[in-house]
Symmetry: C2
Subunit: 326 residues, 2 copies
Amino acid sequence: MLVSEFDIISHYFDRQSNNRSDVNIGIGDDCALMTVPNHYQLAISTDTFVSGIHFLPEISPDDFACKSLLSSLSDLAAIGADPAWISLAITLPYIDNKWLKSFSDSFFNKLNYYKIQLIGGDTTRGPMSVTYTVYGFVPYGQALLRSGACVGDWIYVTGTLGDSAAGLAILQDKLKVKNNLHKKILINRHLRPKPRFLQGKILRNFASSAIDISDGLVSDLKHILKASCCGAYIKIDNLPQSEALKQSTTTEQNHLLSLSGGEDYELCFTVSEINLKILEPILLNTGLNFTRIGQIKKQSYGIRYYFNNKEINLDIKGFDHFISYL
Amino acid sequence: MLVSEFDIISHYFDRQSNNRSDVNIGIGDDCALMTVPNHYQLAISTDTFVSGIHFLPEISPDDFACKSLLSSLSDLAAIGADPAWISLAITLPYIDNKWLKSFSDSFFNKLNYYKIQLIGGDTTRGPMSVTYTVYGFVPYGQALLRSGACVGDWIYVTGTLGDSAAGLAILQDKLKVKNNLHKKILINRHLRPKPRFLQGKILRNFASSAIDISDGLVSDLKHILKASCCGAYIKIDNLPQSEALKQSTTTEQNHLLSLSGGEDYELCFTVSEINLKILEPILLNTGLNFTRIGQIKKQSYGIRYYFNNKEINLDIKGFDHFISYL
């Protein structure tokens, strides 16, 4: 039986997932020692996941590992970075070897896929939570920021919106879906987000701003608008939706899910008319659809919604763990 | 009243603590964007602190901020790095504005002192805990590793040992100290560790290995011995002790505290005879004492303890949150 912190680390987490040449010292000393290649900036993002807050308490260790890791990595994709390393701080109420084996197997499986190396972390006792810090490289000055949108730029999103929130609703028994394939697709979109690394990398050279959709389209687009001092309109008719979502919900439901449902981890980005012509054929080659959903306007315009070419009133809020509690 | 995650970040944590030129984008985008200077390695370390496990639940937010932050930074000192940045993941059960103000004031006060910039993090709801990832720079190839000790090297420690554990015992009402000054000194050593940045920086060029004493001298020295494939002896008579500790405990108590008491955050390092002559006068100038406590031997020698030039039997274990629980 494993009983100490050092046992847990050596047994489950001290695996040579990838032997990257930029990791000079990995797990096992007071610090990891890393080399960042010349002419690159280091992108860093931190995310915490608490059992029962960010996840249904009954989630499997496999799903927990995949969903938390993939959604953390999405921040790197959103800024146009290539993923490189990760630190893992894991807090557990007790040692459950079966749980740890399943969690760590899934965790390293994904790290191997993305060629990411675990460089360190901490293992502590306490209420269950996981904090990742993820690291990636982006060529100097080419990062996709929230602050670059300009009046007249078109607003795009990758993939489809609202699936993850529908998947969560199914898991919570708030949405009934008879078609088993649709049900599986929607739940899978919730539990296995796909960081859009390829799209982020392509957008580096063409998009004026970008963000990943974690809190919901409107909530995240507002971050772009605030950082870029702009307004915008969204054409609700244009929101890209999967067949699974459309067949499983009413029009009102799926519009709301696409506007405010979180955790799709698609990219929302803005692009000027002039860059669009070069970008479109390149993006088409990635095999993932991308859809124009609106346009950037002056700040005084605020945010407006159109449906059938008519403006409609909506009050959309994103998800906030504190607000939902108070 | 502050109600959202974004409110907490903008009100308490989005302060320009230091405007470092190597922080290209700090808080407020999907990732922070950083520049690591040429010819330097980036040192990274992660530590989690859980209320009630790493800290007495009644600890003040000021003490919580200082102790957790300073002990995290100690890992950078131990590897010989200059501190640069920090990420903060904070999980809180509810929004307590008074607590947040005191915590964040102390946190930024220390960051300012060490010229460290907060570059991002996460704010979530859940059982209280804090995870820091700290970052520092070390000239390429000069980091102090655990793995460099050689047979014949002398073993040294900075400062005095056992004070922090005695301070904790006082706070837990397990140790009674009548002398108020001594009591204050010992508690302060527990709540306000000092990362030994200056000493770490000096040792870069001379020490063969180093570690910071977080789990207790013996426990941490064993990490050096394991990584360096060596054995060692310790002369218990030589362990450096403060007057406050000596006056407050029996000889047996203070020897045990100095050998196994954690959280002094002094450096334990090894140095060859030849480097010692250059190192000694430089270290003397730092104003902090350093003491020879033993010597590195072959791995087959194991670890042995001497008192009055006689070998004695001791079974010393360091502190482990999981062992203490099971």
